[in-house]
């Protein structure tokens, strides 16, 4: 199986400075927020690659750079071997773009309330100039709604049904890669189960590849074939779900797994993790996790560890594999 997405040294810096005049009067320097810093990974065709991390870890920014909603500050994103930021052949750009679709978190905000469901679903196909006869009806039935729903408006549906409409729209241009940014975070557990099952079925049926972005470890473990853990814009660990949950190598991953509530953890006394995610405008030197890390040594504060192969995982830590707890 081939590689569909290849991300190399991806970096994104946002300029969060005050306006020019304020900077001159108040003698303030420019302020830069590094949302994503030197992230590299590859996604194999017909698999689910999951990015997990807390708020501010850069997972959505990476998703946006992969679909091309944001240009990278540094590094490259190659989809099917094409770098959309530098490619000049319009035909190639169009072909690759139609292979990518996105599903967003909030199904109430991502559907136009003035459009009929049929028009919403057909829009990507219309944009590609494809035939749309019966397309919306067929897709609605594939996602478990009824063909007669094409004439309804989004407000007539519940949250779970709306997310199904979003999935149907994403499928309309027959994509190969779907970037799902927290697709079930706004849904109830029983509805989440329906949407996750649907996504798994469609993946097998159409040979789709998912980049699955979520903060929910149980959902990630259920869906993913490969998991990347992000902390402050850096990829700290990458492994298969079995390895990551059995033997987490990075101290941050260990902390995250320990803190996640468990259904079988009756009366479990968790030693809550110390501190919070640092300010991304002034990240700590060296390893970004060292101020909170129970294993930190002097070297962690001065040198940034690179992502290296350690046993079956890729880890960015000088003391990978050791356990504090």
């Amino acid at each position: 199986m081939g590689i569909i997405v290849s991300v190399k040294n991806l970096t994104r810096v946002f300029d969060v400075s005050k306006p020019w005049l304020n900077r001159v009067i108040e003698r303030l320097p420019k302020r830069k927020l590094t949302a994503v810093s030197d992230v590299s990974f590859e996604i194999t065709e017909n698999t689910v690659y999951a990015l997990v991390g807390e708020s501010g870890s850069g997972k959505s920014t990476i998703g946006k750079m992969i679909v091309g909603l944001l240009p990278p500050s540094d590094g490259t994103v190659e989809i099917e071997g094409v770098n959309l930021a530098t490619e000049t052949d319009a035909g190639v750009i169009e072909r690759v773009r139609s292979d990518i679709q996105m599903i967003f978190q909030d199904p109430y905000a991502s559907l136009n309330p003035r459009w009929k469901v049929g028009d919403i679903i057909e829009e990507p196909a219309v944009a590609n100039g494809d035939a749309t006869d019966g397309l919306a009806e067929k897709l609605l039935e594939q996602v478990g709604l009824s063909a007669s729903d094409v004439r309804k408006f989004p407000h007539e549906f519940s949250g779970g049904q709306r997310q199904r409409i979003c999935v149907a729209r994403a499928l309309a241009s027959e994509p190969k890669l779907i970037v799902c940014d927290e697709p079930t975070s706004a849904l109830d557990v029983s509805v989440q189960a329906q949407v996750l099952n649907l996504m798994s079925d469609l993946k097998d049926e159409f040979g789709l590849t998912y980049l699955f972005i979520s903060h929910d470890l149980t959902v990630i473990q259920h869906m993913a074939d490969r998991i990347g853990v992000l902390y402050l814009g850096r990829l700290v660990e990458e492994a298969s779900p079995a390895d990551l949950f059995e033997t987490p190598q990075h101290p941050y991953t260990q902390m995250l797994l320990e803190a996640a509530p468990r259904m079988d953890g009756f009366g479990r006394e968790v030693t809550p993790p110390e501190g919070e995610i640092p300010d991304p405008i002034n990240p700590p030197t060296g390893c970004a996790f060292h101020p909170r890390c129970p294993l930190a040594i002097d070297r962690c504060a001065t040198e940034r560890p690179v992502l290296e192969q350690k046993e079956k995982a890729r880890v960015a830590c000088f003391r990978a594999g050791e356990r504090a707890i």
């Binding site: 807390e54 029983s190 903060h215 259920h222």
Partner: protein, 330 residues
Amino acid sequence: MSQPVLSVRDLIVEIPTRHGLLKPVDGVSYDISPGEILGVVGESGAGKSMTGNAVIGLLDRPARIASGGIYLNGERIDNLSLAQLRRYRGKQIGMVFQDPLTSLNPLLPIGDQLTETIQEHLGVSGGEAHNRAVAALDEVGIPAAKERIGSYPHEFSGGMRQRVVIALALCAEPSLLIADEPTTALDVSVQAQITSLLKRLCRERGMAVMLVTHDMGVIAETADRVAVMYAGKLAELGPVREVITSPRHPYTDGLMGSTPLASKGKRRLHQIPGNMPRLGQLPDGCAFHPRCPYTQDRCKADPGPRLKTCDGRAACWFPLDGAQAAKGVA
């Protein structure tokens, strides 16, 4: 056993609408003892927040308590006037909401908000109130509480803000705390900090806590007993370990099956067919019967099962035993 801090008896909340009378809470009864955490779970629209709001007298018009009683430390509080209720709210019942930013006044330093509440309810001097405010912030784990007491809410992170809200809810030393989705807006590591703080405070003060959430994992780790709500009614009420490992109500069983679980790997998630019915279109009999895999004729008949008409644990005519309930945590 000691007297329960909170007793809710056959509580019915009504909302009159053009299309008829809706009952978002329908015949709910439960007790919470001192030092006990009762978890209330359910999906959106199940009536869990409405129950909490009814207890503290925060129902928005036109919603109203139609019948039933709410007793706090043995005194009935559901029929009090607004002026009388003021003495209970904040003083004996503390409340923590989901979004810490909207629970705090953005224009006042947190110290002012704390001292105002303390003076109002405890009638102490300004200096004493200030000292107590610092102690309250210290207790919920805000570092350098003395210096930070003059800070405004926007100067704190989400987790720290939620700690301030908890300090605010607890500064008058209430005997009951209602926490409505206190960790839903927070990250996993901060969530762990807040739930362990709630557990510690509950144990140290012997306070009763009603924890409303939709996260079964949080409930399993935090609560002593759990109440599962469906369409305004209690579906199941029991000790948390028993309800989660061997659910008796088919809805609880379905809920457990649809939660992705670490131990069960990549099998397909169990789906509960259909959606939760709208309040105006509740089916006759048991509200869950159209979605229930074990429905029999009796389930469709009026009136539906209640906890006390069944075995006291699950509101179901045909509760599951261990062998049937195979979809939950094995």
